[in-house]
C-alpha cells in the first residue's frame, strides 16, 4: 500500500481495532514496553490486533540520550518482540528517560551539545548493530532547552547525519516547539535532512497558557498542524507511513476515522501527483 495512515494502538479503545469494521487503519503502532512480557487477556488482544494489521513499534524506554549505559537485557527482549510481531519500523525518541540509574517514564530534553551528539551517535550505532535494523528517531517536543550550546535544528540534523539513523518527523512536535521557543516551523523542517525521514507522526496538543503548548496527544489535530503537514509532505521525495497519535481524551471512533481520512487525502493528493510526474 503506497499511502499508509496508521493509528496508535491503545488499550482504551483496543476493541475498536479488532471488532469495528469501519475502523481500519493501514497499520497500528504500539509501545513495546507496554507489551513485552505480558500474557493473558491483553496478550490475546495484542495477538488479535497483530493478526489484523501490520505493526510498527514506537518505544519509550530506550533512552538513547541517557548518560546511563544502554540496557542490554531490555534490548534483547525488544529484539525478540520485534521479530515475533514482524515489526516493520522501530522508532524511538531523541530524548532521555533515565538518569542516575532511575527511570522517569517521560521524555526529557537532551542538552543540545557537541559531546551529547557524539555520545548518542555511538549509542545509535550500537543499537542498530544489535537490532540489525535502522533506528528511526523522533524529534521530541520540549518545554525548555537545557544548557544548550547549539540550536535544536543543528542538534537533530547532526545526530541523524552522523549516526546514519532515520528520522521520525513529528510535525505536531515541530509546531509545538516553534510556538514555545519562537522559531519558524517551516524553516525548521526545510533545514532537516529530509531524505532521512522514514515516518511521520501527527497529533493534537493543549495550549496551557498564552506562551506554552503541551504535547498531550489528547485533542484533535488543529488546522495549522495540517497545513504544516501538507508543507512537509510536499518537501519529501518519497511516500512514508503517517501515524495518527491519540493517547488521552479518546473521542468517538468516527472522529478518528475522519482525522485519518483527512491525512490520507493530503498525502494522496501530493504523492500521487509526484508519482505521475516521476513516471
Amino acid at each position: 500500500m503506497r499511502y499508509q495512515v496508521g493509528m496508535g494502538f491503545r488499550r482504551d479503545f483496543a476493541d475498536e481495532f479488532i471488532d469495528n469494521e469501519a475502523f481500519k487503519p493501514d497499520f497500528i503502532e504500539l509501545a513495546p514496553e507496554n507489551w513485552i512480557g505480558m500474557g493473558g487477556y491483553w496478550k490475546k488482544k495484542l495477538d488479535a490486533v497483530a493478526g489484523r494489521y501490520p505493526v510498527t513499534c514506537h518505544g519509550l524506554s530506550l533512552s538513547i540520550g541517557s548518560p546511563d549505559d544502554l540496557d542490554w537485557t531490555f534490548l534483547k527482549q525488544l529484539k525478540e518482540f520485534l521479530k515475533r510481531y514482524n515489526v516493520s519500523i522501530y522508532s524511538e525518541h531523541l530524548s532521555f528517560a533515565k538518569a542516575d540509574n532511575a527511570h522517569l517514564y517521560d521524555l526529557l530534553p537532551i542538552p543540545f551539545r557537541d559531546d551529547a551528539i557524539k555520545h548518542i551517535v555511538k549509542r545509535i550505532k550500537m543499537v542498530q548493530d544489535y537490532l540489525e535494523r535502522p533506528l528511526v528517531l523522533e524529534n521530541v517536543s520540549y518545554y525548555t532547552s537545557v544548557a544548550a550550546q547549539m540550536t535544536e535544528q543543528e542538534f537533530v540534523s547532526r545526530v541523524v547525519e552522523e549516526s546514519g539513523c532515520q528520522l521520525l518527523l513529528d510535525v505536531n512536535n515541530v509546531y509545538v516547539n516553534a510556538f514555545n521557543h519562537g522559531y519558524n516551523a517551516e524553516e525548521f523542517i526545510s533545514q532537516l535532512p529530509l531524505d532521512k525521514v522514514a515516518y511521520i507522526h501527527m497529533a493534537g496538543h493543549d495550549k496551557v497558557s498564552d506562551d506554552l503548548i503541551i504535547d498531550t496527544h489528547g485533542q484533535a489535530i488543529i488546522d495549522p498542524v495540517y497545513t504544516l503537514f501538507e508543507y512537509t509532505v510536499k518537501l519529501l521525495n518519497k511516500p512514508v507511513p503517517v501515524l495518527l497519535e491519540r493517547d488521552f481524551n479518546i473521542p468517538e471512533t468516527q472522529e478518528l476515522i475522519g482525522e485519518m481520512e483527512r491525512l490520507k487525502g493530503i498525502v494522496k493528493k501530493i504523492w500521487e501527483v509526484e508519482h505521475v510526474i516521476e513516471s
Partner: protein, 248 residues
Amino acid sequence: MLLKADTRKIQEQFGAVCRKQNIVKLQLSRPEALVHYQRLIRNIFNNTLITAFPITNEWLTVDDWQYLVSEFMAKHAAQTPAVWQMPREFVEFVTENIYAATLNKPALNDLLWLEWYEIEVHTMRDVEEPPIMKTIYQLNDSLIMNPYHRIINLTYPVHKMHADEAAAEPGDYYVLTYRVMDSGDVRFIEISPVHVFILQNIIEGPQSLPEIVPGVLSQFNFDNEEAIQKYLAFFCSDLVDKKILIIT
C-alpha cells in the same frame, strides 16, 4: 567517555529535580517550564500507581497517598523500563521501608501485595497450558496446578474486609489467586494451611490426594485419615471444577 562530566551532571540534575520535585537552579532557556516536567512525571507515577492500587488509593487519605508517591519518587530509583511493572517496585519500597508503621496503617503491605498479585497473575507470561483430558475428579487422579496462580500469605484479612477492620484481626491467612484459563479473569479463594500444604505438594510435581494425605496427617497431627481424605477430596474436586487443578 564521549559525554563530558558536566553534561552528564546536568542531565542527572534535571532528572533528580523531576523525581524529587524540588527547585534547583539549572541552565534552562525557560526556567518556568520546569514545573511542567515535574507535573507530567508526577502524573505518570501517580496515575500508574492509582491504576494498580485502586483500593489502597481509596482507603488512604489523600495526604498519605501523596506522601507515599513522593517518597517513592524521591528515594527509589525505578529499575524497570516497563511502566506497568513499576508498581511492584512501589510495593517492595513501601514494605521494606516500613511505611505501614509510619502511617499507622498495619494492613498497608498486605493490601498492596494483594492488589499487585492480581495484576501479576492477570499478566503472567503465557506458557504451554496442560491439556484438560478429564473434568470429573476421582480420588486417585494425579493432579497438577493451573500455571497461573499465586498463594499469598497475609497477616491481615484484607481480601474479605475493609483494611481498617482487617487491622483488628491479625492472623495467618492464605489466599489462592488464580487466572481463569478461558477468560483471563483473576479470582481469589481463601484457603487454609492444610490446603496450602496440599497445593504445594501438587506444585512440586503431579500427585494424587492419597499420596499427599499421609504427609497432612503427620504435619498437622490429624488422626482421622478417612475424614480428612473426604474433606480434601471435596476441596480438590471443587478446584478441578474451577480449572485450578488439572487432572493429568
